[in-house]
């Protein structure tokens, strides 16, 4: 071992001390993410506490020197306004309900899909994986747009139902919660299937055979063997669907209606239409508060995956 390598090795082996090179490797992403991911949240919090004003940017400063003394204005008015208005409460509740139902639908459809993929022949697995992932590489917006045409009153879904004689008059499908849920399931299904497949694929199939050899019935084996062993995949898949779905903007905007209020769309309107930045920031802060537990669950799960 050369002297230089030995020195590098020694300094790296000592706990808590990192070589200059290693520190640079860590600092590059750490500084970027701290500046452009962490710091912005502090600013959201700050602006949510200030008052809206007719100025550029449209909010009042938090602290000001008046007659030589520093005065700090903390305004909880935005939070009181958001929490006091039943419209916002309805939007938060609508988001959570819609995201929950869509996540459940994704799981019910995605689990058997992932199971079938994990049980297919290895070469077929690669093709099936590609087939599931391919749609998520095409434009998200365009895939949601496709459903606008299908679900409209004269769209394919209604034409099909009318043609089959199941209904007499076109159903109102577009601009309903049903349409929003279909959209979320459609857009996020691959994010449910992939982690489930990754877990089910690693599963030792002999366990399954052992259970059936010992006389366990298929449903019983599934409930006592398969399901617990794939719990990690279920958690990852559900969080990957649920968290972004709560803040979804595009899907409720294009497929939803006036009675399917979701908080992401409300925040967007508050920001772009009403130009009330402090209220938009307060809405975002409360949304983050709502998502803290699922976000922490996801982080814990993900860092365990990264470490293993």
């Amino acid at each position: 071992m050369s002297l230089r390598a030995r020195l590098a090795f020694l300094s790296a082996a000592r706990p808590g001390r990192l070589s200059l090179g290693r520190r640079a490797v860590i600092a590059l992403p750490l500084v970027w993410l701290a500046l452009f991911f962490l710091l912005p949240f502090a600013l959201v919090l700050k602006i949510s506490l200030s008052e809206a004003a007719i100025s550029v940017p449209p909010y009042a400063p938090l602290a000001e020197y008046v007659d030589g003394t520093l005065q700090v204005f903390l305004d909880l008015g935005n939070y009181l306004f958001v929490l006091g208005d039943s419209l916002y409460a309805a939007a938060y509740w609508g988001s959570v309900k819609t995201a929950f139902l869509a996540t459940l639908a994704c799981l019910l459809l995605g689990y058997p899909m992932a199971w079938a993929m994990a049980r297919a022949r290895p070469r077929a697995q690669l093709v099936l994986l590609l087939l599931v992932m391919l749609p998520s590489w095409t434009s998200f917006l365009i895939r949601i747009y496709a459903w606008m045409g299908i679900l409209s009153n004269s769209g394919l879904a209604n034409q099909l139902l009318l043609g089959l004689g199941l209904i007499d008059a076109p159903l109102r499908l577009l601009n309903t919660r049903f349409a929003v849920i279909v959209g979320i399931v459609y857009a996020y299904l691959p994010f449910m299937v992939l982690p489930l497949y990754a877990h089910l694929n690693r599963l030792d199939m002999t366990l399954w055979e052992a259970a059936s050899d010992l006389g366990s019935r298929r449903f019983n084996t599934f409930m006592t063997v398969t399901l617990p062993l794939s719990a990690g995949g279920i958690v990852a898949g559900c969080l990957l669907v649920f968290i972004p779905a709560v803040g979804e903007f595009v899907i409720p905007e294009l497929l939803g209606g006036p009675d399917t209020l979701m908080i992401g769309k409300v925040l967007w309107d508050e920001f772009f239409l009403n130009r009330d930045w402090p209220v938009a920031a307060a809405l975002a802060t409360i949304m983050l508060g709502l998502l803290v537990i699922p976000l922490m669950l996801f982080h814990r799960h993900q860092s365990r995956e990264l470490a293993s």
Binding site: A5, A8, L30, F140, M287
Partner: protein, 276 residues
């Protein structure tokens, strides 16, 4: 040949039909004569002609490609060191913070990311005078930030599979860590870097919400133009655009799949030859 389990096999078939039918419908209606998207009136390619005469869409395509190209490049430069730190450096101070900042953008609702970055840029402009105008550069920074998280996850997955004894052998033979990384580790993980770059590129091309928040007048990406047209209703020109996007992605996937299979065959042939 193993038979697929009946219930889950049916669910898989149903799921795939669910995933592909809407796109097939879009492609079919892009060749429709009628401007009413739900009524079939005969075959025509006129919407493709109109698409290529739309200056606004063409300019937006160019903007989107430029931003995606540079954002993906920067995301690889940031995501790779992050992945290296997470998988190779053991415990160090700031590890938890780095880990949370790498995983959080994967699921963070886009409206929150977009709003918080815009507020940052406004504050920076007020304090330092930069960025005076929001546009390509601010979109590039925003996209780099969330894309590097995806790159880090893809690269970390590959780094964990790499046989560390090769790296240790190089170090034992006197190669300093940086040289070991560039001459031994980097070539081994290069497929993951390419995969991460491609993922970041498609994520950046696809983003509407974050770009809408952080862009200023004059910098419209393709999703922003498509969105403002789509929200007014269904338009056959967008069907033509959708068909071209689906075609491009399918072709790219086929090429990638072919190259992967050829690489695999070559590798296997090499193994057979050395085995002789």
């Amino acid at each position: 040949m193993r038979r697929l389990p009946s219930f889950s096999g049916a669910a898989l078939a149903l799921g795939l039909v669910f995933l592909y039918l809407p796109m097939a419908v879009l492609v079919a209606y892009s060749f429709n004569v009628s401007s009413l998207v739900t009524v079939w009136a005969g075959f025509s390619t006129k919407w493709y002609g109109e698409l290529f005469r739309d200056e606004q869409i063409l300019a937006a395509v160019w903007t989107s490609f430029k931003v995606a190209f540079f954002a993906a490049g920067m995301a690889v430069c940031l995501g790779t060191p992050a992945a290296l730190a997470m998988t190779r450096f053991g415990r160090f101070r700031g590890r938890t913070m780095l880990a949370s900042m790498v995983t959080a953008p994967l699921v963070m609702p886009e409206v929150i990311t977009g709003l918080s970055l815009l507020l940052l840029f406004v504050q920076m402009a007020a304090l330092t005078g930069w960025p005076a105008d929001r546009g390509m550069v601010t979109i590039w920074i925003a996209h780099t930030t969330f894309c590097s998280a995806y790159v880090a996850v893809v690269v970390a997955a590959r780094l964990r599979e790499v046989d560390r004894s090769i790296e240790e052998a190089a170090m034992d033979l006197g190669s300093p860590p940086a040289k070991t990384f560039f001459t031994v580790t980097l070539p081994i993980i290069s497929p993951a870097l390419i995969a991460g770059w491609l993922l970041a590129f498609t994520l950046s091309l696809d983003d509407l919400v974050v770009a809408s928040f952080v862009s200023g007048p004059g910098a419209n990406t393709l999703p922003m133009v498509v969105f403002s047209s789509v929200r007014l209703g269904v338009s056959p020109k967008i069907n033509a655009l959708a068909t071209l996007i689906i075609l491009a992605v399918s072709l790219a996937t086929l090429v990638a799949w072919y190259l992967m299979r050829r690489g695999e065959k070559k590798r296997r042939a090499g193994l057979v030859r050395t085995g002789d």
